[in-house]
């Protein structure tokens, strides 16, 4: 089997500092290469070189034996390289069909041939089991559907090398299965794929071969069977990592409740939701995409209205919007840190201080004490090990995903919450940072804070939570506790409803 893409001694310097060094690697048609490495290991730089975004400083690339030096993203696309990014490159104001065909509309007499467009799209969507109207604006789709649109785009271009960058982070279990069987099918059709993920179990599931990057160099490569998860972790971080889910004292079942939700309903969104989170307890909220988990969180945080029911925090009934809830001791790490969590162009310090500004203000004028803010930010940086060079100047945008997420967490820690709601707290975060985030959550719980954790990763919930509540169709369909033991089939059945359980 001759290689589709070969990298020979590839290297890239940023300001004289090598980000990728002496990389030699090849991918054959019909092969899935799992590419793993911590954030900053050089994966993005490598992908940007393959994708024509940046030119390599040293070495060369071959495409079917011919020198391959894409000058632009368009060059790479023309050659047959497609990216499925973590942050999808879709246009919310355009339809599904338009997004798929964005760089090659079928034309008739110079105009877009809408009928041909619909035909082409429907065929692709059928291949992906995506049952939607091609005219539907992408802005109205959920994350999993959007990703399928992105894959349809790659299929349409007859991509020969598809690079998946953290593809499962926003997918539900069923959608992940669908994605994996799709990858299998593509493999059978002879498509080469690079699969980048922090979820190592997924890598084991889909990849034929594994390549591990550390500090810009290839530190391990071979068939997936030679790389059980512990070895992957070892190669990636260069040391053994203790259990990702650090052990934690289980909260006593008689601890006083922090959050009490009774019969909470919002027509069309959630129905008769009741839930309790005790002091020091981590409660998971599992469910499919669109089960109403994030919607429940938004209602709890006062962002959306509820029609009936009661929410109490520390015994006090809650009213008003986020401001009142924060004052009452609530914090909310949203699922989408770019849109709702961070001011991307503002400094780390300003982001950290935002939810607790009142604490730093003094005097009748409400002057912010900058030294106090600086000190608190610095303490938080050390506490959470946020990797940032200059807290006061460096924009959050320039941090890695894991560090960005730590900034969001730090923001809420500064406001000293009694209850913290975490919505997909480890999305797009690498293994090392994940473990750190879990440790932070555990410490918080040990200090008596209640945590409500929403996640689509069952492993994460099982590893972290004292109890897991499952939602479906806006209702809570069941609750299991660690004491009673978690069974995957059981939890998934609750999430899918009876017919899936059968």
């Amino acid at each position: 089997m001759s290689a589709l893409l070969t990298l020979e001694g590839l290297g890239k310097d940023w300001f004289g500092v090598p980000a990728v060094e002496g990389l030699t690697l090849s991918i054959a048609p019909g092969e899935v290469l799992g590419l793993i490495g911590e954030n900053g290991a050089g994966k993005s730089t490598l992908m940007n070189m393959i994708g024509g975004v940046v030119p390599p400083t040293r070495g060369r690339m071959l495409w079917e034996g011919q020198p391959y030096a894409p000058a632009s993203a368009a060059d790479a696309t023309a050659e047959g390289v497609a990216f499925i990014h973590q942050e999808l490159n879709l246009f919310g104001n355009l339809s599904i069909a338009e997004n798929i065909l964005i760089d090659g509309f079928p034309r008739r007499m110079g105009l877009i041939d809408r009928r041909a467009m619909a035909r082409a799209t429907e065929a692709l969507m059928a291949r992906l089991d995506l049952d939607l109207s091609p005219d539907r604006p992408v802005g109205t789709l959920v994350a999993g559907e959007k990703q399928l649109v992105e894959i349809a785009k790659a299929l349409h271009r007859r991509a020969r090398l598809i690079i998946f960058d953290e593809p499962t982070t926003s997918l539900t279990t069923r959608e992940i299965e669908r994605l994996f069987s799709l990858i299998d099918r593509l493999r059978a059709e002879g498509t080469a794929m690079i699969y980048i993920s922090h979820i190592l179990g997924d890598v084991v599931r889909v990849a034929d071969r594994v390549a591990v990057l550390r500090d810009g160099s290839l530190v391990g490569e071979g068939p997936v069977d030679d790389f059980p998860v512990p070895r992957m972790i070892h190669s990636m971080i260069g040391r053994e990592l203790a259990d990702v889910f650090p052990p934690r004292r289980i909260a006593p079942p008689d601890a006083p409740p922090v959050l009490e939700v009774e019969g909470l309903s919002a027509p069309g969104v959630i129905e008769d939701v009741s839930l309790t989170v005790r002091e020091g307890e981590v409660v998971g909220l599992f469910g499919l995409m669109g089960a109403g988990r994030s919607e429940l969180a938004r209602i709890l945080f006062g962002l959306d209205p509820a029609e009936r029911g009661r929410v109490r925090l520390g015994g006090q009934a809650l009213h008003g919007g986020p401001r009142e809830r924060i004052a009452a001791g609530m914090g909310f790490v949203t699922e989408n840190r770019r849109e709702e969590g961070l001011m991307m162009d503002a400094s780390v310090r300003d982001n950290l201080a935002l939810a607790a500004l009142g604490q730093f203000a003094a005097g009748p004028l409400g002057l912010v004490d900058r030294e106090k803010v600086g000190a608190a930010a610095q303490a938080m940086q050390q506490d959470l090990r946020i990797k940032a060079a200059d807290l006061a100047r460096q924009p959050v945008r320039s941090l890695s995903g894991g560090n960005q997420q730590k900034v969001v967490l730090g923001k809420w820690l500064l406001s000293r919450p009694h209850l913290l709601i975490l919505d997909e707290p480890t999305r797009g975060v690498d293994v090392g940072a994940r473990a750190e985030i879990y440790a932070i959550v555990n410490r918080l719980a040990e200090e008596g804070c209640g945590v409500l954790m929403i996640s689509s990763e069952l492993d994460e919930l099982k590893g972290m939570c004292d109890r897991i509540a499952v939602m479906r169709g806006g209702e809570i369909t069941g609750e299991r506790s660690r004491a009673g033991g978690y069974r995957d089939a059981d939890l998934v059945a609750l999430a899918f409803g009876e017919q899936a359980a059968a």
Binding site: G40, L354, G366, V368, K387, S400
Partner: protein, 380 residues
Amino acid sequence: MTAIDAPAPVPARQRRGFLARLLGSEYFVLWLTVGYFLVLLPFLPTLGTPANLVNLLSNMWPLLVVAIGQTFVMAVAGIDLSQGAVMALTSTLAAALLATGADPAVLAKAPIWGVLLSERGGLLDGRGGVGLALGLGLAVLAAVAVGLMNGIAVARFRMPPFMVTLVAMMIAGAFAIWLTQSENIRNLPEQFIALGKGDIVSVYFGARTESQLPRREVYPLVTYPAIVAIIVAVLAHWLLERTVFGRQVIAVGANRRAAEISGVPVVRVLILAFALSALFAAIGGLLYAARLEAGRPTLGSGTFLLDVIGATVIGGTSLFGGKARVIWTVFGVAFFVLLSNSLNLMNLSSFHVDMVKGAVILGAALLDVARTRLTRQALP
């Protein structure tokens, strides 16, 4: 590029060149202004004469006050097109309340005649300092009401700031003209006029030989508008940089949703930003009215607004929110005032002025672009 594993920023190199440091500086527009001044000085010696410097400063103060108001609105990703009309409304109302007398032949047809204003003067005329303060206060209050309405429309009803303030401009401006039926209101009380040009410290350059100083060579250095503008600027700077409210203003502009989730009272912050804009416009309007010695329903019309917005944006404040500093606006205003002053001194034919003005704005923008590129290189 995704931010996922962008290399950590290279620490600023120690030996950065002078040029790079200059361009990267927060004070870039100040250096630009100073540079422009120094380059022109040999060709336009008048530019540096005390009389001209005094003019420069006196032109700067009221514009600065108005532009600072605009800065707050831009910080929340808004724009306030109604500032000019608010100035007109304030100056007209203040003049109507405070005038020491009015000519019925001119103003008898105005709706305010007999209500706020009559032959004997405005409602609050002749009540001393209290009356003056009350009159100015009421006029400013009317302006703030316009600002509050702008803010409520934007914050509560999600109406685009551009449209809201455009409509406010139409209505407030037309309302001011309707109030006086197009007439200006003269006969302002002495203290009001002093607000526009009264000097506190003046200087005389030259030997003291004659008993009477030649008036032409006495230069007002510290004036009431200067004091008002400096106080406003310092307070606004504090408000934006140091207070919780100021940081919330920036947060709302940077990411409204994140701000809301972080407990920022977004609606209140937006409304206050627009109210502040109107407040500062009103103060600027009073300064302009005082130095023109009349309440003018057409104050601040025409291209005035472009000067305000242009000066604010040149200073570095972003039209898209989240990036604003009062000090930048000070520099931007200084640049714009120097620009139009220098154009006045160049003795250009009136047929050329617009072209030169456009070219200088372009030049400044180009330098700014060069600077951004140079500083960007420091961060990947």
